[in-house]
Amino acid sequence: MTHLLSIADLGREGIEEVLKVAEAFAEVERRPIPKVPTLRGRAVATLFFEESTRTRLSFETAAKRLSADVLSFSAGSSSVKKGESIRDTVETIEAMGMDALIVRHASAGVPAQVSRWVRRCKVVNGGDGWHEHPTQALLDCFTVRQSVGSIDGLRVLIVGDIRHSRVARSQVLAYDALGASVTLVAPGSLLPPSLEGWPVTVVDDLDAALPDADVVSLLRLQAERGSGAFVPSLREYTAHWGLTAQRAARLHPGAVVTHPGPMIRGVEIAGDVADLPQALVTRQVTNGVAVRMAVLFLLLGGAG
């Protein structure tokens, strides 16, 4: 693996390998001292041009558990505010001897651009615009597999703001690669303009689709999308596309619910649904560390 920019870089075998290695690291996390010396002497930088607490903490925890040195960069308090370009920032940070850069940016494609600017650093996409969030999809697959056994043949229902969701784009690729069938349900204004080439089925009626789903993947609806811009109101959105307690009752007993967080309780997911045992939200967060350890290990462990 040169870089991890998109789930498409991995393919089925690559995804399986990440999940397998992540299982070993999940075991490490259960030890009294959850730390291994694997990446001692290696340096990992998180470059977050867009704020995110959970993804940054998860990557930094993963790197620290592998004994890597961690450098944390955030655009809010940096040279970027003084007008330095991303390219110069990246070149400066690489010059400090970094081995991997975790890049998050509000614009699609920035990690791919960074991968062309670096000389020897490995680049991990930590979420870019509406494009992709590959480690999120990997940890979703890991968590679902841990809970259900195998992804192959599962029926995955992705609900909500797919148009603006990097998580959904990575999930579709990952679930499809692992043999699941993916169905999307969303108001038309929150679907991508074209789904040509996507390995998905689109349905209009959430209530009709729920009983068949093995996995329900909910996406966050950003408030500004719900305030008359893409749907008439949050209230109407919740009434038609929210996972209310009534709807959750229609799920079959083995079904699970995922959410990439942060959740807006009462909008896309009812508060008491989020706390059901079938809701894997907290396990997703826990597993995120192991999966990101696996990604860093596979990128850096073999080299140097």
Binding site: H105, G109, V110, A112, D128, G129, H131, E196
Partner: protein, 438 residues
């Protein structure tokens, strides 16, 4: 024929030239002929013409000798963005592309919306290697609010008016501009883009934008304004030119309007004839342009439209940007790509040599009001604005060797067929064997 030689500066270089052994191609057809140029004028065209004493003979064997190209749509960036291009560097890029005239777009800083700015750009053009005409803005500051002094600009010879870079959003204002322009005998050239429908998108809306998670510009953003302006032109009887059309739907609307007798001409760019939105998959902002690179079906429709004359003109929309301006996230990058030095080869590959020359030389010369001295035909007595092209020569585009001050060519590393050999501008060989004669 009277020659309106606007240039007051005569560049050094041979004044008596013979282009020998080529095949002349112009609006009158194709024939083997040598061409003799003396003091800015073609003095003889034919086989076995006498070589005047002291003449410089330029080999045209295996080449096509054609009227110089005329670009209706070049952003020369001066005044205001001289780090990206100047009139001088842009004109050299044009000369190296086979152009003998370019129309400088008015979206400079300040915009060409007054006699003062137009006069400044025209003055800069006087020392340039090719003729530089200017287009004026339709509205003051290109802000789309009130009419620019079109009569004042027309008196300076400005023939084309456009707010290019943006369309005139207000339909009532556009109608008024058309009514005003009609009496001046000038042409309004529209950048067709409904800003609200475009919605800040950064590439073509379709399967690729959806997959890449980039906000898209729907074809409808262009087509809605094309449709609006065609009916406004029908009602106002103003001459309308539609800049850089990019969609199959726009082409269909223009075809229908021409059948109905609307006085409209249309333009496409070389890059829209050659590249699709798939190029954006690498997120390289060099492929960001406005209008955006469209689908394969749109490219096919545009090629067909240049072929059947629905699209009259292939113009570059040459849009230089300094490297640092393009080294930013895709959705933050300014749109635009270089075109002058690659346009002819790219267009020849897309539509063939004859259609390329018609759409890049005599048809734009007529629209720009330059037909008295550009666009041929290549005949005794005509102004000596010519290009000599080797249609078989293959070459690889190297951004580092371009004459433009910028490097944002989408064809970097691409091997093209068809290479400019010599350019004769106002009787002077400004490019010989692909080398600028600075």
């Amino acid at each position: 024929m009277t020659l309106q030689m606007k240039s007051t500066v005569r560049r050094s270089g041979p004044r008596v030239l013979v282009l020998r052994g080529g095949e002349v191609v112009d609006a009158d057809g194709r024939r083997r002929a040598d061409v003799v140029v003396e003091d800015g004028v073609v003095t003889a065209v034919g086989t076995g013409v006498a070589v005047p004493p002291g003449a410089t003979v330029l080999d045209a064997g295996g080449c096509v000798v054609a009227p110089g190209l005329v670009d209706l749509h070049a952003h020369l960036r001066q005044p205001g963005r001289e780090e990206a291009e100047t009139v001088e560097t842009g004109a050299w890029a044009a000369a190296l592309g086979g152009y003998s005239a370019v129309v400088a777009m008015p979206n400079t800083e300040p915009a060409i919306d007054s006699a003062a700015v137009a006069t400044e750009v025209l003055a800069l053009g006087r020392t340039a290697p090719v003729e530089v005409a200017v287009a004026g803005a339709i509205t003051v500051g290109r802000a789309g609010e009130r009419l620019a002094p079109m009569a004042e600009l027309a008196a300076l010879g400005v023939r084309i008016f456009t707010d290019d870079g943006a369309g005139v959003q207000d339909g009532a204002l556009m109608r008024r501009a058309m009514d005003y322009a009609r009496g001046l005998g000038v042409i309004l050239a529209q950048h067709c883009e409904d800003a609200r429908l475009a919605g800040g998108g950064s590439m073509h809306e379709g399967p690729w934008s959806s997959r890449l998670g980039l906000p898209g510009v729907p074809a409808a953003a262009e087509e809605a304004m094309v449709a609006r302006d065609l009916v406004l032109a029908r009602d106002s009887r103003c001459r309308l030119h539609l800049l850089h059309l990019s969609t199959a739907g726009s082409v269909a609307l223009v075809r229908q309007a021409k059948l109905a007798g609307v006085a409209v001409t249309a333009e496409a760019t070389p890059h829209h004839l050659a590249l699709t939105d798939a190029a954006c998959a690498t997120f390289d902002p060099v492929f960001k342009v406005n209008p955006p690179l469209r689908s394969e079906a749109d490219v096919t429709a545009l090629r067909g439209a240049v072929g059947d004359g629905t699209v009259d003109v292939v113009a570059t929309d040459h849009a230089p940007h300094a490297p640092e301006a393009k080294d930013v996230p895709f959705d933050e990058a300014p749109p635009g790509m270089l075109g002058l030095e690659t346009a002819l080869a790219v267009t020849m590959e897309a539509v063939g040599l004859e259609r390329a020359l018609a759409a890049m030389s005599w048809q734009p010369a007529a629209i720009a009001g330059l037909a008295d001295r550009h666009g041929g035909p290549v005949a005794a007595g005509a102004a000596a604005n010519l290009c000599v092209v080797d249609p078989q020569a293959r070459w690889t585009v190297d951004p580092a060797t371009l004459a433009s001050r910028s490097r944002n060519t989408p064809f970097a590393g691409r091997t093209l067929t068809g290479r400019l050999r010599h350019t004769i501008s106002r009787g002077v060989a400004v490019v010989i064997d692909g080398e600028a004669q600075r």
